[in-house]
């Protein structure tokens, strides 16, 4: 079975600085997708960034980028120029590819609570 581990329950960053959130996962599958979701205090889960395992290039979305290390099964999220609105719970999630076992459902880590200090 696939598992996702986020080893940092809480992180803090100064506004305008950079922070990196860690995520490791375990799988025997070769085709899969990885995601970072943001859940602000309002509770609505929002997709931040997505990475396909077959792609070697790390995904980037504006101030958000990932460091995807497939061999190490590591998938960290870097937030540059942090803003007060980035404060939220961040969840790393895994999904099997088309022929995998989890049939499209997401497997989440326990989350990292990010605080942004003004």
């Amino acid at each position: 079975a696939q598992t996702v581990t986020q080893s940092q329950p809480e992180m803090s960053v100064q506004e305008a600085e950079t922070v990196t959130l860690s995520c490791t996962y375990d799988t025997s599958e070769s085709d899969y997708y990885l995601f970072w979701y943001k859940q602000p205090p309002s509770r609505q889960m929002i997709l931040v960034i997505r990475q396909e395992a077959y792609k070697q290039q790390n995904a980037t979305e504006n101030r958000f980028s990932v460091n995807f290390q497939k061999a190490a099964k590591s998938f960290s999220l870097k937030i540059s120029d942090s803003q007060l609105g980035d404060a939220a719970m961040y969840f790393c999630a895994y999904r099997s590819g088309p022929y995998g076992g989890s049939q499209g459902n997401l497997i989440f880590g326990k989350g990292t609570k990010l605080s942004v200090k003004p």
């Binding site: 997709l47 969840f91 049939q103």
Partner: protein, 114 residues
Amino acid sequence: DAGVTQSPTHLIKTRGQQVTLRCSPISGHKSVSWYQQVLGQGPQFIFQYYEKEERGRGNFPDRFSARQFPNYSSELNVNALLLGDSALYLCASSITGPLSYEQYFGPGTRLTVT
């Protein structure tokens, strides 16, 4: 366009009772998934429905059931409620089947069992 909507927002039930939670997907989305998020944890997959058929089930007891209607809305039912069922229940929709890239989440229903 309206996002995923869920009702009710909050719900308080007593142990042993039954509850029904409702979800309306984004217009045009045919797949709905349900997740349970216990306080301090990440969401856990309960069910996935696509084109009104169950396409996936997580490791939850038979007290949990769901269905999807012809308009693609969905209901999650939980019977014989336990204290441990207290959680935020999230619904997510996707445009095609289970292998859609992105799932769009609703705001959730907060269920408290006393």
